[in-house]
């Protein structure tokens, strides 16, 4: 339901803590495709280290399969575009799902959505750490701390972000360096390219500022997870957890290809 008050559209606010990332993504995909309301979902950390690939992600190219299989790290393919992340209790998630008609000045294609989000988060960080949107990433200076992804349907869109509150070098080692990297990375290795948000802002201040910034464009109504109507389940669901068999098969194929390449 959309209600306008003094020309400001309504947005449902859902605050989660430690919710499994698969559950969060499935919820987001359902709300994008089946709901007609606007939503802001905040998840303060997720419960288990999990690798999340974008819509077209290929495990053999993005993930170190042997340690992932050895350590049983879950691998998810999500419904939005973009790159691969490994998330855990030190990742903060903010997702915004909107009807395009409720933000008529924001054109529903990637650059425009990205610019709008950059402007929103400029309010959140308000000069802290030289925050900026840089080639689709959120950075302090030239160091990335937030990755973005979107999905755009006929009348709605989602823009969601994973923020590196803190991260573990061990967890990062499960990921391969992607073939496509932003130009501003300038060949830097991981430790010189990313930074930890905790070095710049208090966790509670970030969450509070984000809610406040979203509240300048929407009237927020807080809902618990239980209050979300989940009766409508007839929608396309593309987010999924990759099975162990799939990952093992991918590793086997990759190993065979490498053996053949070496033999030649």
């Amino acid at each position: 339901m959309r209600v306008k008050n003094v020309g400001v559209p309504l947005m449902n606010l859902v605050k989660l803590r430690g919710t499994p990332i698969l559950q969060q993504l499935l919820l987001e995909e359902r709300l994008l495709r089946s709901s007609s309301a606007n939503w802001c979902i905040l998840n303060d950390g997720t419960n288990l280290p999990t690798i999340v690939m974008g819509f077209s992600g290929k495990p053999c190219e993005l993930v170190e399969l042997q340690p992932v299989l050895r350590d049983r790290i879950p691998v998810i393919k999500r419904f939005t575009g973009g790159g691969t992340v490994i998330v855990d209790e030190n990742t903060l998630f903010v997702s915004l799902i909107c009807n395009r008609n409720d933000l008529p000045d924001v054109l529903p294609y990637p650059p425009s959505l990205m610019a709008w989000s950059g402007s929103l988060y400029s309010q959140v960080f308000n000069g802290i750490g030289d925050f900026q949107l840089r080639e689709n990433d959120y950075v302090f200076g030239d160091r990335k701390f937030g990755g973005n992804a979107q999905s755009i349907t006929r009348n709605r869109w989602i823009h969601h972000t994973s923020f590196l509150w803190d991260y573990s070098e061990t967890n990062m080692s499960y990921l391969k360096l992607p073939s496509k990297v932003p130009q501003y990375r300038l060949g830097r290795d991981h430790t010189d390219f990313v930074c930890r948000m905790k070095d710049y802002i208090e966790r509670s201040v970030f969450i509070e500022n984000t809610i406040k910034a979203v509240g300048t464009q929407f009237m927020l109504k807080e809902l618990s997870l239980d209050e979300i109507d989940d009766s409508c389940r007839e929608h396309l669901e593309t987010t999924r957890l990759l099975t162990l068999d799939e990952l093992k098969e991918t590793l086997a194929k990759t190993s065979r290809s490498e053996s053949i390449a070496q033999a030649v």
């Binding site: 819509f55 077209s56 973009g82 755009i152 349907t153």
Partner: protein, 166 residues
């Protein structure tokens, strides 16, 4: 395509081209990149897909204007042959610039061919949206649906009006 148009600076930037066979004369990355081609002989949906109906086969893709707004297409998901598509429902998705965008079918019918080249070369959608970047071929189940689609001039005007609204 789940897109709207650019801001008013491109409102007058759409031009008509006489046929698909001449589309190679329209450079994909010309100086005046705000120009997008709209071809004669094609029909267009307000979600920016095009249809070329020849005999019992309708070919579907996304318009030059759509691909321009998407940016570099890195992946395309298409339906399988013998599956059905329904007018105004999505039949696939493209990925570009961190975003997935729905592709919406302008007509209903059975998919009889899928452009398999797009699996290895999704950029064909950018470089040749009306020819090599075609997506699916469909046997229309209700050819009358084509009549509700826009012709080239109407589509051009539609784009201009969308531009003006922003």
């Amino acid at each position: 395509m789940a897109l709207r148009m650019w801001a008013s600076s491109t409102a007058n930037a759409l031009k008509l081209s006489s046929s698909a066979s001449k589309s190679h004369l329209l450079p994909p990355f010309s100086i005046s990149r705000c120009f997008s081609s709209v071809l004669e002989g094609f029909k267009y949906a307000n979600s920016h897909e095009w249809v070329k109906h020849e005999g019992s086969v309708a070919t579907i893709g996304i318009s030059d204007h759509a691909q321009d707004h998407l940016g570099e297409v890195v992946f395309v998901e298409l339906p399988e042959e013998k599956s059905s598509v329904t007018k105004a429902n999505n039949f696939g998705a493209v990925e570009s610039v961190k975003a997935t965008s729905e592709i919406i079918s302008p007509i209903s019918g059975e998919v009889i061919e899928v452009n398999t080249k797009l699996a290895d070369s999704p950029g064909l959608i950018n470089s040749s949206p009306y020819e090599d970047g075609w997506m699916i071929k469909v046997k229309p189940s209700n050819p009358a649906e084509l009549e509700s689609l826009m012709g080239p001039k109407e589509y051009t005007k539609f784009c201009e009006e969308e531009d003006a609204a922003h």
